[in-house]
């Protein structure tokens, strides 16, 4: 990980702290209102523990309170419109599916699939309107994303269908309440913030799931691109190709040391033919990898240093005398085999052997 030597913003931390404190306080208030036993202990750890079990017991109650706190006056209105939307469930779902088709969204899915997902989304949407709770919605949105991302559904499609649903339901509300504009306004006052929050929740869940998938793929690629290979007993080679950054270098070191231990390697060849440039941080990581290998009894040869890279290392003040470097991989392998005892008599060079 490349770290700027910047410290976390102390103001940020205090802000976060007071947010956490405020949240803790409101939890406590909920608990006492329901006269659940809370030890008036000084130790804040105990309070946290109680809060957690309190929360589980009163999850439903506090959710209702939350929903109530947010749109207290509109609460009966939400109930009213939710009841109506449920009544018209079939029609609305059909209308929505039709508009999805019209807008050419979810092309990768069959009509049946679209319908079944639409049903689930609709029901979850209306539930979320009713309860004001986005937790269930988040869970559903994540699961939905897990299903459709591998199918190739794009972000704009997901946002698109959620907004279409919002429109379909809004139109329906307009149609029903158009006679009484004051009532309609109050209905919309209740509906709009809830509907918008739903759209954001679903969109964000989808994007976050995508990010998670991309991360996983990147990890997998990284693992593949720093393989440590055993080419002979006790002789490992680690070819490095491409961009070598701090986090990759760290991963490389871990893999190398684990391989030394697992293969009981005596000699390691690190080949950097495929690395174009190295900066100071990475050079340090390499040196540390070599030194750590030595502490595990393995000698390291660095091969494939281009004149540019060699010069860069020298300029960076890297002590190349601590490692053995050979210009090309072939020469390096030969020397490595010799060191590992595979070729000819062992040299009597006093820098060899398992000296730390």
């Amino acid at each position: 990980m490349d770290r700027d030597a910047e410290r976390p913003d102390p103001d940020e931390e205090t802000e976060r702290q007071s947010e956490e404190d405020a949240a803790a306080e409101s939890h406590e208030e909920d608990a006492t209102e329901d006269s659940h036993e809370v030890d008036a202990a000084e130790d804040s750890h105990e309070e946290d523990g109680d809060e957690e079990s309190d929360e589980e017991d009163e999850d439903e109650e506090s959710r209702e309170e939350d929903a109530g706190e947010e749109s207290y006056e509109a609460d009966p209105l939400l109930q009213e419109l939710v009841a109506y939307l449920r009544e018209k469930r079939t029609d609305l779902r059909e209308e929505w599916a039709r508009r999805i088709n019209e807008a050419d969204l979810l092309g990768v899915m069959s009509d049946d699939e679209v319908f079944s997902e639409a049903t689930e989304v609709f029901d979850n949407y209306v539930d979320a309107l009713e309860t004001g709770s986005i937790e269930n919605l988040q869970t559903y949105a994540r699961e939905l994303s897990e299903r459709i991302i591998p199918r190739g559904v794009e972000t704009d499609e997901v946002l698109g269908i959620v907004l279409l649903l919002r429109d379909v339901l809004a139109r329906e509300l307009f149609a029903k309440y158009q006679e009484d504009s004051e009532h309609l306004n109050r209905i919309l006052d209740a509906y709009e913030p809830a509907a918008n929050r739903i759209a954001v929740t679903v969109g964000v869940s989808f994007v976050e799931e995508r990010e998670r998938v991309i991360n996983e793929q990147q990890e997998a690629i990284r693992e593949l691109s720093t393989p440590v290979l055993q080419i002979r007993e006790r002789l490992l080679i680690l070819p490095i190709i491409g961009v070598l950054d701090s986090s990759r270098a760290r991963q490389l070191t871990q893999q190398l040391l684990a391989a030394i231990r697992d293969n009981r390697a005596a000699v390691v060849v690190i080949d950097i033919t495929g690395v174009a440039t190295i900066d100071r941080t990475v050079a340090n990581h390499l040196v540390q990898a070599v030194e750590a290998s030595r502490l595990m009894g393995a000698r390291t040869l660095l091969t494939g240093l281009s004149p540019e890279v060699t010069q860069a290392l020298v300029d960076l003040g890297v002590d190349l005398s601590m490692m053995q470097t050979v210009g090309d991989l072939q020469g390096g392998l030969e020397e490595a085999e010799r060191l590992a005892g595979y070729r000819g008599p062992r040299a009597t060079d006093e820098t060899r052997g398992a000296e730390s």
Partner: protein
């Protein structure tokens, strides 16, 4: 979020405890290797200082997290006589034998952030932090934020 852990440091047996607790909490927080070992090693040095140079103290291991990062704050306090020359103590090769003196420069190298306050009245407080980005995207997010 895991709770904080407090280790009393009175004698050298407590160093064993401190090392074990440090590794345990680091692993619990999800630090990838070799971080738990690095953290435990740094804490070992600081804890020994407490035993050797003061009558005793304590070490608090406090997890923290924000949107992009997670980490551990280590706060080591003692009521000893304080370090007379803090600057020298933090300089490498304080004891003249490859930094094997107070171990402070070494501990600093193992952690991401390191602060030390020391005087005869209040003793010594060492605050160290180690943290990680949650993932690549969090790192990018954080870098963008800092550049803005």
């Amino acid at each position: 979020m895991a709770d904080e852990v407090r280790v009393v440091i009175a004698d050298d047996a407590d160093l064993v405890t401190a090392r074990a607790e440090a590794r345990a909490i680091a692993e619990r927080l999800g630090f990838p290797r070799p971080d738990p070992t690095l953290i435990a090693t740094a804490i070992s040095e600081i804890a020994r200082n407490i035993v050797v140079h003061s009558g005793g103290g304590e070490i608090v291991l406090r997890p923290f997290e924000d949107r992009n990062r997670y980490g551990l704050i280590v706060i080591a306090t003692d009521r000893g006589p304080g370090i007379r020359d803090v600057e020298a103590a933090l300089r490498d090769d304080y004891s003249g034998r490859g930094g094997l003196g107070l171990g402070l420069p070494g501990a600093r190298r193992l952690m991401d952030e390191f602060e030390l306050e020391s005087d005869a009245e209040n003793g010594t407080i060492v605050t160290m932090k180690k943290w990680r980005y949650r993932d690549e995207l969090a790192r990018l997010r954080e870098e963008r934020r800092r550049r803005a």
